[in-house]
């Protein structure tokens, strides 16, 4: 949103200027209410991310809302079967604007290894997705990466879908490099 400019002397009695949209986006990105649409094993990783060790509350996104009308972010966590498609679509439609969607894990992103008649090959086939998190399941770190990507998108007002880039455990990456192995960028 740009710098907050403090004008008029000391901080206690000053005022600041900013763009209204930028302020609104700033407020939105730090108070995301989430709707966890957890259908499968990825739900466990979601719980881990929400629990104190990874502590999603640091990002102002700790409050899950089980009513779509009260939430901003729809987390599609797990495999979406064809039979569940109408439910997911309806949940999405019930959410109030502005709303964002995160595809959590490989199944929600592209169907994963469920390449058959039961499974929707990615929830983006029926609802627009903002952030994809690959992984089966993704690590909580990847989920936090996704949340930060989403916050960046909200601040910029950008609706292009993005994918969380892969990351290595730094210690393992160092050892791999020391052996002359392939280094991931």
């Amino acid at each position: 949103m740009g710098e907050l400019k403090v004008l008029g002397g000391s901080q206690s009695d000053g005022f600041f200027t900013t763009k209204f949209e930028a302020l609104l986006a700033w407020a939105r990105k730090y108070s995301l209410f989430q709707y966890p649409f957890a259908t499968a094993c990825c739900g466990m990783e979601f719980m881990a991310t929400a629990a104190p060790r990874y502590d999603i509350a640091r990002f102002g996104a700790e409050a899950p809302r089980f009513s779509p009308r009260q939430s901003d972010v729809l987390w599609v966590v797990g495999t979406i079967s064809q039979r569940q498609g109408p439910v997911l679509k309806r949940i999405y439609e019930q959410m109030t604007e502005p709303k964002w969607v995160v595809a959590f894990g490989t199944c929600a992103s592209c169907g994963g290894f469920y390449d058959n008649y039961t499974t929707i090959p990615g929830c983006d086939k029926i609802i627009p997705v903002d952030v994809y998190i690959p992984g089966c399941p993704p690590r909580p770190e990847a989920v936090l990466d996704a949340l930060m990507l989403l916050m960046e998108k909200i601040q910029k007002g950008n609706r292009e879908p993005v994918t969380v880039p892969p990351r290595e455990v730094p210690e393992l990456a160092k050892r791999r490099a020391a052996r002359g192995g392939k280094v991931q960028s």
């Binding site: 064809q82 029926i126 393992l172």
Partner: protein
């Protein structure tokens, strides 16, 4: 383990036991569809059998048997006795369109199993009170576990979004956290008149099954290709 049950069935039904076999202590008998309920009732009520636990009822599709004039489906029943501690597998062969009698009158647990068979294989049960699909939706056409169900046919309930490249949005690569790739069915089924499952291709001789020694050779080659496993696990660091 349940040889006594087989002996009991043979003494009771004689010739009506069409075949019997055993694999590592698991006995199996084959009967005709007309004896289906009678044998089941006997298994439940006879004090020497006392099959009080309905394990499972399922079906197997053998589409190529139809060419030889044989019934297409196997119905497979697993029951056991908690009291006598034995179990048995009972099979019968049914034709496409034939309606075997329901077992819900013998074991109430057969209800959902028979609904699943209807859903997956399209075998209806005569006398079943609630013959609806159980896993799939009413709009679904066909029965997906029949081997002639097209392997790449999906029947979406919600129309896919009208967006450019909607089918080209991510599948992810190996580097992006998906250590497996999707199967290219077009390539796999090339040369087939109709899209059928690979198992049919093997049965019809279009595709060869590998022998045990070939499988072992391929596995050895894979191991040889892999780099030495000196990378420590994440937990170790």
């Amino acid at each position: 383990m349940s040889a006594k049950v087989v002996a009991r069935l043979e003494s009771q039904f004689g010739d009506r036991i069409l075949a019997k076999s055993a694999f590592r202590g698991d006995e199996e008998v084959t009967i005709a569809p007309k004896d289906w309920v009678e044998v089941a009732t006997f298994l439940r009520d006879d004090p020497a059998c006392a099959m009080d636990h309905f394990g499972d009822l399922t079906a197997v599709d053998w589409p190529l048997r139809e060419r030889e004039g044989q019934p297409r489906f196997d119905l497979v029943l697993y029951v056991r006795s908690t009291e006598k501690r034995h179990r048995i597998r009972v099979k019968t062969k049914v034709r496409d369109g034939e309606q075997p009698k329901t077992l819900t009158t013998v074991w109430a647990g057969a209800n959902w199993a028979e609904r699943e068979i209807w859903d997956m294989f399209g075998i209806r049960f005569d006398g079943h009170k609630d013959m609806r699909r159980i896993l799939l939706y009413e709009e679904f056409e066909g029965h997906p576990l029949r081997k002639d169900y097209p392997i790449d046919r999906a029947q979406p309930l919600v129309e896919y979004r009208d967006v450019e490249n909607v089918t080209k949005l991510p599948p992810f690569g190996i580097e992006e956290g998906q250590p497996f790739t999707r199967i290219d069915w077009e390539e796999r089924l090339a040369g087939h008149a109709e899209p059928v499952s690979p198992s049919i291709a093997v049965q019809t001789g279009v595709r060869r099954t590998l022998s045990d020694s070939e499988i072992a050779e391929a596995a050895a080659a894979r191991v040889a290709q892999e780099p030495a496993a000196d990378e420590p696990s994440e937990n170790a660091s």
